[in-house]
Assembly symmetry: none
Homo-oligomer: 249 residues x 2
């Protein structure tokens, strides 16, 4: 049996069962345990699986554990969040919006950084509150069942009384002509308040949402100071945004 076949077989087994024992593989492939060990080591080095004591497990087996939902385009969102993170200086006062991309940003903030973070998002607040040096202020309100954020008049009123250095927000839809739009009227009111409460607004937006629009308008593009999206976003999509300050990965 060729080595390549063995590697393929091992990987298949791991992906099928999420885990394998080296002894089992050695037996079924009729090679020595040392050979299997070397193979698995190689696969591990190539990030195909994770080698553990006594066997190997599929990559997704270890990670993703604390994440309860499967997030669409997670990799892209993490990259965007990483870029956004570079804007945050120690000691800053920021606002972090709801949505999965913003949640990734909250996740990425290091334990050591000292920040004051306002948020309306329950998951973001939970994530941040475990970081000892982050002062977390939750803007209260009724919690929406779908987005898990505080909404309503009281939330908007509270937002009107603060001014943060940076506001990191998401949007439902964004288009060079129509600006930022949403499906939900209440969300629009909220986002308007968020933008008003910020010296600078940073839009975190996967390319999927570029050049799409909906019924209710949050703001024009010119009110957004920085937009972060993927580099691989279709150039034709991006050129219409070029007149504005767009950071790409």
């Amino acid at each position: 049996m060729l080595k390549e076949e063995r590697l393929r077989t091992i990987l298949n087994e791991v992906e099928l069962h999420n885990r394998i024992l080296l002894t089992d593989i050695a037996e079924t492939l009729e090679v020595s345990i040392d050979t299997v060990r070397r193979d698995v080591k190689e696969l591990d080095a190539n990030k195909k699986l994770k080698k553990v004591h006594g066997g190997a497990v599929a990559l997704g087996f270890i990670t993703n554990n604390t994440r309860n939902t499967n997030i669409y385009a997670l990799d892209e969102k993490i990259k965007i969040a990483e870029k956004a993170l570079t804007l945050i200086k120690n000691g800053a006062v920021i606002f972090i919006d709801g949505g999965t991309t913003c949640l990734e940003l909250a996740r990425l903030i290091s334990m050591d950084s000292e920040l004051t973070c306002f948020t309306i998002s329950l998951p973001v607040a939970v994530e941040l509150s475990s970081k000892p040096n982050i002062k977390v202020i939750f803007i209260g309100g009724q919690i929406s069942k779908d987005a898990h954020i505080a909404i309503g008049a009281n939330t908007i009123h509270n937002l009107s009384e603060i001014k943060v250095d940076y506001s990191f927000i998401g949007t439902g839809y964004v288009d060079s002509q129509y600006g930022l739009t949403e499906f939900d009227w209440d969300i629009v009111q909220l986002k308007k308040a968020v933008i008003k409460a910020a010296k600078k607004t940073v839009l975190l937006c996967i390319s999927e949402k570029l050049n799409s629009q909906h019924r209710y308008k949050t703001c024009d593009l010119k009110e957004i100071n920085t937009m972060i999206t993927e580099l691989n976003a279709d150039n034709s999509l991006l050129k219409s945004f070029k007149s504005h300050d767009v950071i790409l990965l």
Copy 2:
């Protein structure tokens, strides 16, 4: 079974039930208690959960009282919460405090019940927001790192503008003579506001806290309409509360 699988199983159990007993895990996984202990220790070191005497609790499942990291008391807390649940009628407007006992109450509320719930506790809000028919209103404020509740002047101000049917609260210490007391002055101010915001206040309190007191006073016992504690609480402890309206299990 691979060690990796065990770690994952333990983590899953913790996240599912918020708490586990080492003895239970050892039995289900068919390994020695020492092994489980080592595993949990490792998970704790990796910040995946928090190890406590006799077991482990999920992160985010935080007590507001360091004295009380004992997971055995949880059974009692659940019983107390179950009793408290009987007071909640459909359509009611209630407030639920922070702390593990109140969190248990939030967990027990059924998916079908229609309620309006105010809270200052992040874990309670997270728990309730998954229930479709509960209107959850989070009273905003700065999130305290230890208790994971909103505190501060804004929180207290917001509380001053609401009136709920029932307020379910916990306390650090309770004594027939000194009433409800706390270790923390800010918490006292908050609890005063909570009591003021309620038509009726229900104290959820494990017997461990009976006849203990601390520096700062929240209120007299007579301001509490109902106190719920365990039946097995020492009778001598309870008789001094008899002049008040005390519900026992």
